[in-house]
Symmetry: C2
Subunit: 195 residues, 2 copies
């Protein structure tokens, strides 16, 4: 059975692939944290009228940048380099599902559900890394981050429900989960958090 | 005499203008912090090969987002609203001075000097607010932030010197200061941190 509502578990072959290229995983992971921080800031910028949302996402943005710094320290401690940022095709595909038009509550709910979705999948991937990587320090690291991703997932879903107005968040979330289970089938083939 | 090498002090009439519209100041200030965080992240994204730079700018990005959150709390405590982000014409004008082409060290040094310049002017403006606002809580707040801006200024200038290679940082910094003293003459006329 899957975590946080996800319909499809990651194939353990993905973890074996990652094990062979930890430097690539860590560079990709660092930029995932940066992208998550930037996304939280972007949501703040679009919806400043909701102060509770702004405060919750500010805390998340701070944590994501702190996590970026922690990943950079793991890279440095191993004598590796932080590579350049690259696009995340999984997030790109998932983003196509959110409503760009429509009223503001619908746009906000979709942004928050997209963030919850990414946190859920990242959490599931980190759990697998915490169980399967050979580097014990990284296993502990990914366990701690898995907990943090689960908290962020809960925050995003809670905010979506709080600001839903007349939108049926549970129905929309079910649509997100179904869509994600379709696209994730093409992944699991490279050494990236959402690869 | 001026602070941190600045050639022109802000006219105290700016502080009197701001005093009449503190809600506008706080909204503008919150977004200044957000822009500063985003700018630090952008520099990290462009120059990931320098791990010391990445680590220093990660700390600054975290602090700027924390400051954003602190300004939001000041707004909320007064029962006001966070308005929408707007462009900062001062930063826009100043940004035209930096080299977009050229080799990577020159681009990096210019980005860092631009950041140092903005921190220096913000520091000078915050000092004036810490001395002249009628709200004591905000006077203390701006005093604390003035100290933080001065530290960031020192960090940015230090990084520019560290990664300068063959570039004469002191000469380039003098050019920045001269340019800033030209453009700042048109400002001081609205209720914004760099207004």
């Amino acid at each position: 059975m899957s975590m946080l509502g996800l319909k499809l578990e990651t194939d353990p072959r993905w973890a074996r692939l990652v094990q062979e290229n930890i430097p690539a995983l860590l560079t990709d992971h660092a930029w995932c944290e940066q992208k998550a921080a930037s996304n939280a800031v972007s949501t703040i910028t679009r919806f400043p009228e909701h102060l509770d949302l702004v405060k919750a996402l500010t805390r998340i943005a701070v944590e994501e940048i702190e996590h970026f710094g922690m990943v950079v320290e793991k890279i440095e401690a191993r004598g590796w380099k932080l590579g350049f940022e690259e696009k995340d095709p999984y997030i790109g595909e998932l983003s196509k599902f959110i409503k760009r038009g429509g009223d503001r509550p619908a746009q906000l709910v979709d942004r928050l559900l997209l963030s919850a979705m990414i946190e859920a999948r990242s959490c599931e991937r980190f759990k697998m890394l915490s169980q399967r990587l050979s580097d014990e320090d990284l296993r502990v690291f990914y366990h701690d981050l898995m907990v943090s991703e689960a908290e962020h997932y809960t925050t995003f879903l809670g905010l979506a429900r709080k600001y839903a107005g007349r939108i049926d968040v549970e129905a929309r979330w079910a649509e997100f989960l179904a869509f994600e289970s379709q696209i994730i089938q093409s992944y699991g083939k490279n050494e990236a958090v959402h690869g």
